[in-house]
Every structure is written in structure tokens, then in C-alpha cells.
Symmetry: C2
Subunit: 227 residues, 2 copies
């Protein structure tokens, strides 16, 4: 499904260059459950943004479902991003002027789903994250953890084959975190690919493989013996 | 220092009313180290925003350093907020158009500190959170955890007597979290008041008192036996 070949990502800041990724080689097959860990600033979000076709590498090869992402036209990338990938951003990225229901319906509008089906599926997704009673609230009318759960519902509403979640439980208490991870476990058990960035060991423990980044490089890549 | 007497906070949403706080009684003395925990949506951020004079209660009495906050003029509130209180927001609230150094200098500009002293103190604060090498980066040129640490440096730069930190380690790995908590421990050991919202037990363990909210009410308030 996902293949990184010597992926480098660097940012130019005036005369300096910041190396966010320094040559990452990584292959993730369909149906895998992978946790990505590593210190703050080690390149986790950069890796996820490239995986989700939201950013392009400075050099190296990214191959998604057999296609070289660099060679794909924008429409083809947008279609893959929309149908195949559900993305939970570290900063949520909710639209401030829309309420929770409209935010969750957004991917369904892009996918051209009819209005009454859209509403039903969006409400079901909000219910699955425990927020049926907040569907009419705008982002600034919800708590930090509630906004995070709206972002999770939006990523799941289109039943994507690949879930990319960047610190999905960073603002959640342990019970709510466990509920969210149970959702991800279920999605994985149906044969989908789940990739979760986290800094909490008990969250990473749900995955079957743990990849650790350090300073823009893969530091270790081990199988989780007892999930 | 801080006294809540039957504090209620409710929001009107069309015909309904959402009760964020339903009559909270809480007293925190100078020099205390308190952790606030509770499920997502239980009222923790609402409590902190009222404590930091960033929001006003719907009813009840908030008394800060012996003054009724409701009776204070805006300038007096702003002066207390600026000199006495260092606030770390759950959503960071960094100014996007400024770099890390300028964001951290902001409280010093309000306090009327001279330019060269401002720069020196802001650099020292950024160094104390491990970000001396990111001082020229704007928020969108930093990782989630780095932005969180800039927000912490900004809250500490004015050496406030009261620290209010809302999930300060939500986006940080365990090593970086430990470094940040060591900073808070040090500030507390100098006689300042530290109040930290967290959902992680090992973070709450640094405090000497743990207050748990549930559905807008104080559910339990216990002394931490073995910090
Ligand atoms: N502007 C608003 N309008 C309506 N409801 C609001 C508003 N702001 C907050 N709320 C509601 O008030 C309740 C308390 O919110 P608060 O942000 O204090 O929760 P919290 O304990 O900090 O949660 P979290 O752990 O998710 O950050 C929530 O149920 C939220 O939906
Ligand atoms: N637009 C940019 N310009 C310059 N440097 C950047 C930019 N975006 C990210 N960086 C740098 O790239 C590095 C990797 O960032 P990334 O967001 O991938 O880290 P992360 O592992 O997700 O960290 P965190 O756990 O704090 O979220 C960081 O050191 C960051 O400062
Ligand atoms: Mg990140
Ligand atoms: Mg909160």
C-alpha cells in the first residue's frame, strides 16, 4: 500500500535548511496496524502529511497503491485522498464557521453523496465518538477533546481503506481514549490499514508494529509481541 | 489566592442551555500545586478560563487575591492577568504572523520591559523549553509539540506568581513532558501557585492535590499522598 524510498523533506529558512526527514525507507502493507512514535520534532507529522498526499517530499520516492505519487496529476491525488484515506490532523483543522455535523459531512459532499444519506451517515459517525448531543455546536462551542472527536468522526465517515491519525487521543481522558481506540481496532479488524502517531505507550500497544523516528530517520521498527 | 463560590457557567444554544459548570466551590491557597482532571467536556477549560479572568461566570462569586473579579474594572483585571498569571492555553493561541521569539516577548511588551532585556529574557525562556534553535520559526514552521512549548515559554517569561496550564503536555513525548514538568516543579518550589489540567496520571502525580471534575461539578478533591 505505502512505500517510502529514501524520502527526504527539508525546509529552507533564510540561509539555513531544516531537515525534517533525512532519508526514510518504510513499507506498510494493506491491513497493517502501525504506531509511529518519537520525540517532539522528530518528523512524525511530516511523514504522515506526505503519506496522506498533503505534502510532497524534497527528494526520494513515495509509492501509494503501486503509483508513484510524484507522477500523479492533482485530480488523481485528490480522488485517492478523498476515497482511500481518512486523515485526523494533529491540529484538528475544523472549519470554524460550520457546526460539528457540517464539518463531518464535508468528505461526503466531496464524494458526491446525496444530502439525506450524508446527514444520516454524519450523525452516525458523531454518535460513534460520543457526540450526538453536540452536532449543532461550532468548534468554538466545544471543548478541546470534543473538537478532536469531531475530527476523528470526519476521518471515519467515508469508510476509508487507510486511516492516518496524528495524536488522535492527545486531548482525551483515558476512558474516551479507550473508546476511540476501540473504533480504530474495529476498523483494522475489517481489513483496513491503520497508522497512528502517538507518544503514549498504551495507545501504541493497540498496534501490531511500532516504528520509532528520531531526528528525521527511522530509529527502530519492531513487531508488537503482545497486543 | 483563588476562591470559587457556587460558580455556574452556562451557554445558550438556541432554545437549549448547556451547563458547563453547575455550582463549583473551590479554594486554592498561594503556593499550592493542584492538578485538575476529568472526562472530556467536564468543564476543566471553562474553570481555568474563569480563573485566569479570560471569561466571566454566569452566576456565583470569583474572588482572586481578596478582590471580587466581577467588581473589578477591565484595566485592573488586565493588570492582574498580565503580572500575576501565566496562562498556557489548550489550543496554544500563538500569533501566526510572529516567530517564536516575538510570541514569547509579547507579555514583556505589555509589561513595558525595555527591548534588549525583553529579547534576552525571551531567549532564556525558549532555551528552558529546549527551543533555542527554533526562535526564528513561525508557528506553521514548527511541529505540534514545539508550538506547545513556545506557549509554555510565553506563560513563564514574566515570572508570574500563578501558573494556569491547560493540558501542557498533551502533544509531548514522555521525555519532553518530564522536562516541562521539572520546570513547573521548580516554579512551585519557589513559592508560586501552579494549577495544571491533565488527563495523564503521571503528570497529575507531580501536584500535591488532585481535583476531579465531572459534568460541571467537583467530584473529588484529594491530597496526593506520595508525590
Ligand atoms: N461557547 C460554548 N457554547 C456552548 N457550549 C460550550 C461552549 N464552550 C464550551 N461548551 C461546552 O461546555 C462543556 C465544558 O467544556 P470545557 O471546554 O470546559 O471541557 P473540558 O473539561 O476542558 O474538556 P476537554 O478535556 O475535552 O478539553 C462542554 O460540554 C462543551 O461542549
Ligand atoms: N514549515 C516548516 N519550516 C521549517 N521547519 C519546519 C516546518 N515544518 C516543520 N518543521 C520542522 O521539521 C521538524 C519535524 O516536524 P514534525 O511536525 O514532523 O515533528 P513531529 O515529530 O510531528 O513533532 P511533535 O511530536 O512535536 O508533533 C521539526 O523540527 C520542525 O521544527
Ligand atoms: Mg506532530
Ligand atoms: Mg479542555
Amino acid at each position: 500500500v505505502i512505500e517510502f524510498k529514501s524520502i527526504v523533506k527539508s525546509y529552507t529558512m533564510g540561509l539555513q535548511a531544516v531537515q525534517a526527514l533525512r532519508g526514510v525507507n518504510l513499507t506498510i502493507k494493506r491491513g497493517e496496524y502501525v504506531a509511529i512514535m518519537g520525540p517532539s520534532g522528530s518528523g512524525k507529522s511530516t511523514l504522515m502529511n506526505i503519506m496522506g498526499c498533503l505534502d510532497t517530499p524534497t527528494s526520494g520516492d513515495y509509492i501509494l497503491n503501486g503509483h508513484h505519487a510524484a507522477g500523479m496529476a492533482d485530480e488523481a491525488l485528490a480522488a485517492i485522498r478523498n476515497r482511500e484515506i481518512g486523515f485526523v490532523f494533529q491540529t484538528f483543522n475544523l472549519l470554524q464557521q460550520y457546526n460539528a455535523l457540517d464539518n463531518v459531512m464535508l468528505p461526503l459532499i466531496y464524494a458526491g453523496i446525496a444530502k439525506d444519506i450524508r446527514r444520516e451517515r454524519a450523525l452516525a459517525a458523531l454518535t460513534s465518538v460520543g457526540l450526538a448531543d453536540r452536532f449543532s455546536h461550532k468548534p468554538n462551542e466545544m471543548s478541546g477533546g470534543q473538537r478532536q472527536r469531531v475530527a476523528i468522526a470526519r476521518a471515519l465517515v467515508n469508510n476509508p481503506a487507510i486511516i492516518l491519525a496524528d495524536e488522535p487521543t492527545g486531548n482525551l481522558d483515558s476512558k474516551t481514549s479507550a473508546d476511540i481506540m476501540a473504533l480504530f481496532d474495529e476498523i483494522w479488524s475489517k481489513g483496513n490499514t491503520v497508522i497512528v502517531v502517538t507518544h503514549e505507550d498504551d495507545i501504541a500497544h493497540h498496534a501490531r508494529r511500532i516504528v520509532r523516528l528520531h531526528d528525521g530517520m527511522v530509529f527502530s521498527d519492531i513487531v508488537n509481541e503482545n497486543p
